[in-house]
Structures are given as C-alpha cells and as structure tokens.
Symmetry: C2
Subunit: 249 residues, 2 copies
C-alpha cells in the first residue's frame, strides 16, 4: 500500500533558511521511515537557496523584448526565462517551451511567479536540484538519525495532454526508473518496453496529497521502499531523453 500525507506547519521559506531544519521540525511523530520518500515542491528549495529574481532589476535584451511583444508577456520575465534556457523549443500561443540548463523541457524554463513572496519576484528552478536533494537528505539524516529518499518536484505540462502533472527534477536515494525490460510478465513472457518512471509517478502521487493554496510543499510517501536506496544514486539524469533520442521534437 502507498500512502502520501502532507506535512503541516511549514513556515513561509526565506533565502538562507535550511530546508532540512524546517522539514525535520514539521515531521510527524515516528516519521520518517528509512524507506519513505520525502517529496518537496521545488519552490521551497529555490526560495531557501535564493534562486529568485527581482523583475525590477532585470534589463530585458532585444530578443526578450521581441518575444514578449509576440507573446504578450512582461519582457523582464521573458529575459529571466531566456537566462535559464539552453534551447528554446517553441514560442507560440503565449507560451515559451524551453530546454533548461539542466536539460528539462518545460514551460518558461520553470520560471514562475505563483507562490512568490511579492509581485516583483519570480522563482527559478534550483541551480542543481540533485545536489539540493542530496543536501536535504544528508541534513535530515543528521537531524533525525534517519534519512528518507528525497525527491524535488515541479509541475510540468505535457505534449499531447492538457493539464500539468508533478514530475521529478531532483532526487537522492531513489532509483528513478524501474526497468522491467527483459524481465518476465506474470505468464513468463518477456516485457519488451516496460520501463517505469517511478520518480515521476511518486511526484504525481504526492501532488494529490496537497491543495495548491494550502502551503503544503512537503509530502511524505510511504510504501515505496523498494525504490529507495542507501546511496544517493544517480539523481534524475536517467529520466531525461538525450535530444537526439527525442522522437517527439
């Protein structure tokens, strides 16, 4: 059985805060178990790491101004998106689809104003989300004596389906993909293509356990211990298609 429950009582996070201390203080009695997965919305991490920009301090360049005019967006916001972008995939219908410096393909390179501290601030993705996850896991181990796996998430749109699902953008102690290719189904027949994005399914499951307006950025998922590893492991890199293997560009 899988359970996902939101941690209550987390404060508004400010630059310089230690996510491990905040989350350890919010952990329910008896939790976490070493087989649990702590799922954290990236904004908690980004704010703590100071990964924000003040729009009033951004000078949009020519390309940002051109795109902003076409897309009816704030040129300063577009400049911040471009600063986070390795390759722009699409700029249409008011949306910028960008490949971020990390290799994620998502709207606006993950730059977002919702749940920001004020109207002048936008929140970026963490600089190195796998490292952030490892630091948080190590901090929890130090404070609590036991470390769950840690998963950092964002909400991404999808190519052919409406709506967003939360997906993994960083992890530590989690095997992000479960590979059944070459293994057998219940009849003993080889499973040719079964390769499950466990980290993304965990991100989605955790998102169901919170309300978007309830300040519940941290969710504890239990029952997925077979995907948890003592070593921090590879992070989310294995989830990212290499551009040349990307059938869908």
């Amino acid at each position: 059985m899988i359970t996902a429950r939101a941690l209550d009582g987390l404060p508004i996070v400010r630059a310089g805060d230690d996510p491990a201390q905040l989350i350890a203080a919010a952990m329910p009695p008896g939790a976490p178990d070493a087989g649990d997965v702590l799922v954290v919305a990236h904004k908690l991490i980004s704010k703590a790491e100071g990964r924000t920009r003040r729009l009033s301090e951004v000078r949009p360049g020519e390309r940002a101004r051109e795109l902003a005019a076409t897309l009816e967006k704030d040129p300063r916001h577009v400049q911040v998106v471009l600063d986070e972008t390795r390759a722009l995939r699409r700029a249409e219908h008011g949306v910028l689809i960008a490949e971020t410096r990390h290799g994620f393909v998502c709207a606006n390179a993950g730059v977002d104003a919702s749940n920001a501290p004020d109207d002048d601030t936008v929140i970026l993705l963490p600089d190195a989300p796998d490292d952030s996850a490892r630091r948080l896991r190590a901090g929890l181990r130090e404070l609590l004596g036991v470390a769950p796996a840690v998963l950092i998430t964002d909400s991404f749109g999808r190519a052919w389906r409406h709506g967003q699902c939360d997906v993994a953008i960083g992890c530590a102690g989690l095997v992000p993909l479960e590979d059944w290719r070459g293994r057998a189904d219940a009849r003993g027949r080889e499973l040719k293509a079964t390769w499950i994005a466990i980290a993304d399914e965990l991100a989605a499951a955790a998102d169901l356990a919170r309300a978007k307006d309830a300040l519940q950025p941290a969710i504890l998922v239990s029952g997925a211990g077979r995907h948890v590893s003592a070593p921090d492991g590879p992070g989310v890199g294995p989830l990212l298609r290499e551009p040349e293997a990307d059938l869908f560009r």
Copy 2:
C-alpha cells in the same frame, strides 16, 4: 492523506467476464467508499470486452509490411497498430507513435503483447474506455450499493523523458482536471497556469501500488474524494489536446 492499495485475488480475465463482478468479489471488507477511486489497468477491461486480435488471423497490407521492415517488427503486429490508428505521428527507432481513434497519442496505438494470454494474441485499448468506466461504475453500484469513481489506465511514454507513467484513458465519476486558473495562491496572487491533470496523477499513484508481474490490475485509491462526482461526468476528453492546440507536434 492519499492511500492506494492493490486488490488481491483477481483471476485471469477472459472474454465475456464481467469486470464489475470480478472486482466486487475482490473488494476488501468495508470498501469501497463513495469517495474512493477504483483504478483499473485497461488490459483487464480489454480482455473482458474481447478487445484482442490473433496475429495468425491478420493479413498485413503493403504499408504494414514496409513499416515492419524499417522498424524490424512483425508486420501483422504493425497492421493491428495501423487498424487502431487515426494518424501516425512518428515511425522511427523501432517505435510507432500513433494517434489512436480515441485521440490518445502513444506508442503502437496502445497495442501490446505483454500480459496477453498467449503468444498469438495482442491486446488493444478498449473501444470506448469512458463507456467501459461508466458500465463498471454502474455494475459496482448495483452489486455493492455504492460506487467509487472508476479510472481506466494505460502506461504511456513521454515526449522528453524516459520511462512510462500510467495515465487515464477512461473515467467515470471523476473530474479529470482541477482548474486553478484565475483562483488565488496562498498569498492571494492569481494562479495563471495551474491546471492539474488529476486523473493522470491518480493513474500514476495507483501504478506505484502494484508490481508489474503480480496480476494486480485493480487499485483502490482513497483520500481523493474532492475530485469524485456523483454524475459520471465528461470522461477523459478534457485531458486531450486538440491537434491544432498541440504546441509540441
């Protein structure tokens, strides 16, 4: 809190079986609650509905033979895929990405040999998965006096990420998208793009509760009652991008 638990003891399903009877018999004591979501892997439904093809009875046409030669696939399997396809999006790297007659974009139009009853059989998607979900919900209401929401799922690959996640291909009694656009975040700031694919997140959460080789096609998810509706509602149609709105083609 969200919980997802697999129903045990379901038999191998055969054409003509009634999914509602099989699932009602496997329901744990006291379950389901009217706010629960019963998540069923489509293969259970497809087998019961006889939505299978025998490869030995398929005569591949010229296009299927050409594609099969390029992709190193069985031309009969390719013919079945083409029969289920409204528009072929890609045929590369051994994979056919198809838009199915239902409007889903996925590998091989959802035609799959794993967990099939024998080596000559491939399993198709249900003909009308929303209708299948409605029938199952009505059957459970009749047998148990209470009907959970019903969600039918398949495992789909994603455009820019490795691995598959389970997604919704049919539903009844579930609001598939939660629309926060125009509503406020915790600070009272308008959420401009927050539109959550609840049905797909539920599919993903349920998939975590089973092992692919354990014959656990049915999962009961509790704690998501705010997304459950007494009317069967629109099905999964709202999740599908219209081709002309598809930024990513």
